[in-house]
Symmetry: C2
Subunit: 151 residues, 2 copies
């Protein structure tokens, strides 16, 4: 029997944007905008992408960098409070093998004319692949790209 291990960990990261919560929330809700900052990473080829933003709806993507492994992201939305909160669960897979399953909570707080976004990921990381620290780096990069998309 192959030894399989699960490491559970929680990462928290936050970023403040100079736009009000409804603008920042919309960048998670609208498929074209979400695709821009979430999926169109430099050097990545998008083989498939779709977003159905509603409770029970799915988001799915398949990506590849050069001749690297197929990276697959399958997400389902669990809870949505407009302009306030999004909770989703997702898996990441390399070449068809899940490397993690996560619960992600996005909280939007009005701060003056802007928004404080807090992202909390409670993850189960499988078999030693891709750990919490690289996941946090990944999300910091995404929240940076979101800033660029908001302009």
């Amino acid at each position: 029997m192959t030894e399989r291990t699960v490491v559970h960990d929680t990462i928290v990261t936050e970023r403040t944007y100079g736009h009000p919560p409804d603008r920042v929330f919309a960048a998670w809700r609208d498929p074209a905008t979400k695709r821009e900052w979430f999926a169109e990473g430099e050097g990545w080829r998008i083989e498939e992408y779709g977003l159905d933003f509603r409770v029970g709806g799915r988001e799915h993507g398949r990506f590849r960098r050069g001749n690297g492994p197929e990276t697959r992201n399958e997400m389902v939305y669990l809870d949505i409070v407009p302009d306030r909160r999004i909770v989703m669960a997702y898996t990441m897979a390399f070449d068809g093998t899940n490397i993690s399953a996560s619960l992600g909570t996005v909280e939007f707080e009005a701060i003056g004319a802007g928004t404080r976004l807090i992202y909390t990921e409670q993850g189960a990381f499988f078999d030693g692949a891709d750990g919490p620290s690289s996941r946090k780096q990944g999300w910091n990069g995404l929240l940076e790209r979101l800033a660029a998309t908001l302009g």
Copy 2:
């Protein structure tokens, strides 16, 4: 604007069964067996229950105790390694309002002729309702009922 809060917490509980992992795993996989220990709680009326046990499949239930609120459980399976691991995400709702979203990891380890089951729940608990400690109690009760079902 109503103040909404999210509390993130992780609960871990475990139980040892005198049956091998494939028997214990089967009690999570088979809809009739799962229904028996998971849904048929004493004093609860099952208004709806269904299980589609595969990655991407759903489990859903609506329950009521006497004239209490409708309790709804919506689950989606994220990762399944037969006889070893199940990872699912689920929400709990009272009268249509989500009180929590969780990532649940069930690990099955062979211990002699039996099984050590470790359940880890990484939860986002909303708006002060139903916290981590009552959730842990709830799962302890379910794992006890699972023992009775296994016989």
